[in-house]
Amino acid sequence: MSTKKEVAVRRVRTWLPGLLLVSPSIVLIAVFVYGMIGWNFQLAMSDKHKPIHDGEFVGFANFVALWSEARWLNAVGNAVIFTAVFVGGALVMGWLLGLLLDKGVRGEAALRTIYLAPMAISFIATGLVWRWLMNPAPIERATGLNALFANLGLDFLVNDWWTSPDFGMVAMALPAVWQLSGYIMALFLAGFRGISDDLREAARVDGCSEWQVYTKVVIPQLRPVVLSAVIILGHMSLKVFDLIIAVAGKQIITDVPAIFMFDMVFEVRDPAKGATIAAYMLMAVAAVVIPYLIWTIRKERSEGR
């Protein structure tokens, strides 16, 4: 037997079992994730504007046409506002909560559970509570926050929440901030704990003030945490659907691409248009996530895993 053949046999031996273990998952994901994504793009590039049409190839016509539609522009604008408030709000809240817990309080494990709890409950259930909290009804019938503000004499805070044409989308982001800030807290807490006390101590010995220790030592080290948090929050906000349906239902003030798409597919019954919106959403998420995944894998490799 030649050594070449032996090497080949050994290769197969080390390879085959692993490959067999992975292949069922690969097949499932290949069909249901990548296969369907491919099909979605094919639909988006066709003129299948009614379910019964066969759909001829029309290239990027649907992709271009969308941008001349007022509803699409409104939905994209809303998604941008939502993303800005949601990402910014959850980062600030998560950072503050993390800071509180990092200082060393009693019952840290229980507090962590409390802060993470909203994330485990579905948006459909929590959305209901927020519907009550952010009830825009006139003040005689007000509930939740508006009633609270009125009773405390803070009438200037009473507002229309998600029915306000100007700030509706900002209000819509509040429950999302609430739901995710516990998760961001956990990320920050791990980040804080990863910074060695040596480093802080050394900075102090060198005459840095506490503020300088924070801005010059702690914050630069937290950059990867912030990056992960922004990516995770950002890609979630691009997909937001459940929350808006539960709190506001379908209304133009809080319209987003996912709801627009839902309407096109299941109400208007225009598969090509729905697929086009879905394709844009996919591309937006991919633009955020794929560089991040590559970065994560590279980092893992450089850490010797």
Partner: protein
């Protein structure tokens, strides 16, 4: 800075400036004793109470009469009643729970069946680059489900699988598999390679290594992964809303219908929302550590 009892448990009795404990990641906070620390603890707990109050309010309202749910200022003291729960459970709620249970349990079982071996292979396979490619392929956990809904709807319609609970089982499996593989792989990577090598040197087969050596070590990690998959399936709304109708609809779909039809009955709605959240709260209570760990890791829907 003084080390408290459970600080000493994770950190060896060395000066507080060493990083030994930090590397482990399990170091409890920098504890402060004295009035400053106590005030901080009180403040932090107060913040936590405000934070969780929407959920507490939901549960409280569920035990109210409709009349008590509306008062201004809101009533904290009232005669509790199970009337609302009776109304929710007495309706046509139970079939939806059954559907949700089937979708959740079967898809989670399938995910583990496929995901555990795959994650194992991806954590030990000797060739690095191919491993990365496969891992990348599988770890598409962040891609939006909306991107596949149109073709799925068309396909399920063609093969007459719309409004069928097994369609959801299959989809939830595909939906959770990437997250599960991602999580399980990082748990596998934490297992010291020494154990595996020792078992292999003694001539244990791959399946033997997986079953008798890895599984016991991995049990908490697998539990955390399963919990996350169960939560995601139980809460999943988008597929359920779009691919089911009267027969196979799940609890979240029922809830939205309920909100539309009973929109002003806050007490009854709260009871329904409480019932929906209950399984998760119970599971989370029983396996609190796994839940927190799972949520902190695989939270990315």
């Amino acid at each position: 800075m003084t080390a408290t009892a459970d600080h000493a448990k994770t950190a060896r009795p060395v000066p507080p400036t060493t990083t030994g404990a930090a590397r482990k990641g399990g170091r409890p906070g920098r504890r402060k004793s004295g009035p400053g620390g106590r005030a901080l603890t009180v403040f932090t707990w107060a913040v936590a109470l405000v934070f969780i109050s929407p959920v507490l309010w939901m549960v409280l309202t569920a035990f109210k009469q409709e009349g008590d749910a509306y008062t201004d200022p809101p009533k904290v003291l009232f005669t509790p009643t199970l009337e609302q729960f009776g109304a929710v459970l007495g309706g046509d709620f139970l079939p939806y729970v059954g559907n949700s249970a089937i979708a959740t349990l079967f898809s989670t079982a399938l995910v583990l069946l496929l995901g555990v071996p795959a994650a194992y292979a991806l954590s030990i396979a000797p060739v690095r680059r191919t491993k990365d490619v496969l891992f990348f392929f599988i770890s598409t956990k962040m891609l939006p489900v909306v991107a596949v809904i149109v073709p799925l709807y068309v396909a399920a319609g063609r093969i007459r699988m719309l409004d069928n609970i097994w369609t959801l089982v299959l989809l939830y499996t595909a939906m959770n598999l990437p997250i599960a593989v991602w999580m399980l792989r990082s748990f596998f990577l934490e297992v010291p390679t020494g154990i595996i090598e020792a078992a292999r040197l003694e001539g244990a087969s791959l399946s033997r290594v997986l079953w008798s050596v890895m599984l016991p070590v991995m049990a908490p990690g697998i539990a955390a992964t399963a919990l996350i998959c169960m939560i995601f399936s139980w809460n999943e709304f988008f597929f359920a809303l779009n691919l089911t109708a009267a027969k196979a609809a799940t609890v979240p779909v029922f809830m939205t219908g309920f909100i539309t039809s009973e929109g002003l009955y806050w007490a009854q709605l709260s009871a329904a929302a409480t019932v929906v959240s209950l399984p998760i709260v119970i599971v989370g209570w029983v396996a609190q550590r796994q839940l927190v760990r799972g949520l902190s890791m695989g939270a990315v829907k």
